[in-house]
């Protein structure tokens, strides 16, 4: 018995050393299925990827939420055949001449089939029109650079013109470092567009999904008239690792999770994925003028 136990420890040690890289690898694996099976991070069960997809990207065993791609999300929320994409050809520049930024973007375009970290457009939810923006965490952690900021701003401005409600699904590590100050300014730009939309009496619902942090939390994520979150989503201004480094202590269990934000008054409601479309529809219905 003792020997067996020791052997196990021996096996787990090298895994711990590469934890960071391993985690990144895992995320990629989860999001881009290349095999038939995947291991759930939470319950440890090996599950069929097809079963996860059929189950709205949730673990069929423990109900853990996997991250959805932008197109999976649009399919989940928007009535089939009604989605009209906006500004799909806006593309990224490298204003700081950051080394190999173009290469990185090109690789992500190839891997994800997306041009940038957000898809915007208009469509119907159970027959009701709305403008929608959906971020995709596969694309440089859903970070907001100039293109993401511009697409969201244009989508909100169109909603204002067309007198439509806006729904934004956030999934982002925050502002995009590689575009420096230009990324920071997208926070002001998107917030200003939402202010104009709001002042004319139109509805904005933000739906926070895992993860929503940094400059996205500190701008449009927190500006919804109604703020919805998916269960257990990580939501915060600073990332947990940064906070731990700053205050030099471990963070309590559940810190910065959706339930924590609900308890502290920063989220209106937590909605399970299977109820999301119906809930959004009900909210749109109540605000239909």
């Amino acid at each position: 018995m003792i020997n067996l136990f020791k052997k196990r420890q021996y096996v787990t040690v090298p895994q711990k050393v590469d934890k960071k890289e391993e985690r990144e690898e895992k995320e990629v694996k989860v999001n881009i299925p290349d095999g038939l099976f995947t291991k759930c991070d939470d319950c440890g069960k090996i599950v069929l990827k097809e079963d996860i997809e059929k189950n709205l990207m949730k673990c069929p065993n423990c109900n853990k939420y996997f991250r959805m791609t932008a197109w999976q999300r649009i399919k989940l929320i928007i009535d089939e055949g009604t989605f009209l994409e906006y500004d799909k050809d806006l593309s990224t520049l490298n204003p700081l001449s950051y080394p190999d930024y173009e290469g990185k973007i090109k690789k992500l375009i190839d891997e994800t089939g997306l041009k940038e970290a957000v898809v915007t457009g208009e469509g119907k939810i159970k027959g009701t029109d709305c403008v929608i923006a959906v971020m995709d965490s596969r694309f440089l952690m859903g970070s907001m650079g100039s293109v993401v900021g511009e697409k969201i701003t244009r989508a909100v401005e169109r909603a204002t013109e067309k007198r439509l409600p806006v729904i934004i699904f956030t999934a982002s590590g925050g502002a995009r470092m590689q575009e420096g100050i230009f990324s920071l300014m997208q926070m002001a730009k998107t917030s200003a567009a939402l202010k104009r939309h709001s002042d004319l009496g139109f509805l904005y619902v933000s739906v926070l999904t895992d993860p929503t942090t940094g400059g996205v939390t500190a701008s449009f994520a927190m500006l919804g008239d109604i703020i919805i979150s998916e269960p257990n989503a990580l939501i915060g201004f600073a990332g947990p690792r940064v906070i731990e480094q700053t205050i030099k202590q471990k963070l309590p269990e559940g810190f910065q999770r959706a339930e924590f934000l609900l308890e502290h008054g920063f989220v209106d409601l937590i909605v399970e994925r299977e109820n999301l479309k119906e809930t959004l529809y009900q909210i749109l219905l109540i605000h239909r003028g």
Binding site: P95, A175, I181, M185, A188, A192, S219, L223, F237, H264
Partner: protein, 316 residues
């Protein structure tokens, strides 16, 4: 030599000049030509040191403990400053101060991020890193300014919004977001001036202004160079390299159209002559507010919107 080594050398020169002057006075010997040589050398040294100043030098200058803080400048620029406290929701945050004052006899609201002058004060001021209540106090004072139709002047000097348990519990993200949202349409002129460090969203939350200015050696960036290096290269010691890459100097940001004006600092930096620095800021404020006050509100708000609307680089 970096600017601090040059500064040290010039301090030594100054000391020597002083000694020579005292000596010549005491012994009644004429040393004026020697003194003149040294004084010229000193001037040259100070001028040259700022010719080749690197972005990293500016980071160090902007963080210098002797650098004038918001309060140092407020006292010199405005009359009858009355500090007002608290966000009416939770508490008073000493990292942001605000109040009402007169500028050449006209009422204004003044808000500033405040660093300490020593360790003790820095602990009280949380090193100029505000909590949500600081941003909410700022917004309360801005709304008050809107009501009483007086312009808002913001002094920005922060490493960033504080990252901690309390600040997350009380909604740091929401507090910053709300300021961006409300400032974008606040019906009174806003001028924001980065006087030292303009760190990330924590700085931007006071910088959605009709005019955004920077002192000559101030910095303004998406994150500290250390944070940038540690996120992108997993190595905080590459901060110097990051500082160059990030384009965080006033000169870079003026070229990018992110800021509207650079306010010159005295040779050697703002701390060399705080009165002079304050005088330059005051002159700019008086002139610009005259202009902004004459705009009708709709024009003002439209151009504020367009100013931020234009920011971003992408390919259509």
């Amino acid at each position: 030599m970096n600017i601090f080594e040059i500064e040290k050398a010039s301090e030594e020169l100054k000391k020597k000049i002083k000694e020579l002057k005292e000596f010549s006075k005491l012994q009644n010997i004429d040393l004026s030509s020697e003194i003149e040589i040294l004084e010229n050398k000193l001037k040259e040294l100070q001028r040259d040191s700022f010719k080749n100043i690197t972005p990293w030098d500016k980071v160090l200058l902007a963080r210098k403990i002797e650098r004038p803080t918001s309060l140092d400048l407020i006292k010199r620029i405005f009359d009858n400053f009355i500090e007002l406290h608290g966000d009416r929701l939770y508490k008073d945050d000493a990292a942001i101060l605000g109040g009402i004052a007169l500028l050449e006899g006209k009422p204004v609201t003044v808000i500033g991020q405040q660093k300490g002058k020593n360790t003790e004060e820095n602990i009280k001021r949380n090193f100029g890193m505000p909590h949500p209540e600081g941003y909410r106090k700022a917004l309360r004072l801005m709304k008050q300014a809107e009501k009483f139709k007086r312009p808002v002047i913001c002094f920005i000097d922060t490493p960033g919004a504080f990252c901690g348990i309390g600040s997350e519990e009380r909604g740091q993200g929401e507090a910053i977001a709300r300021n961006l949202f409300e400032m974008s349409n606040l019906k009174t002129p806003i001028i924001s001036i980065v006087i030292g460090e303009g760190g990330s969203g924590g700085a931007l939350a006071l910088a959605v202004g009709d005019r955004v200015w920077m002192l000559e050696h101030a910095i303004y960036s998406i994150l500290s160079p250390e944070g940038f290096a540690s996120i992108l290269w997993k190595d905080a010691s590459k901060a110097k390299e990051a500082a160059s890459l990030m384009k965080l100097t006033a000169q870079d940001l003026l070229d990018f159209g992110i800021i509207d004006r650079i306010i010159k600092e005295p040779i050697g930096g703002a701390h060399r002559d705080v009165d002079e620095t304050a005088k330059s800021i005051k002159q700019s404020l008086v002139d610009e507010l005259e202009l902004l006050r004459n705009l009708d509100i709709e024009t003002l708000l439209n151009s504020r919107y367009e100013k931020f609307r234009r920011m971003g680089k992408f390919l259509e």
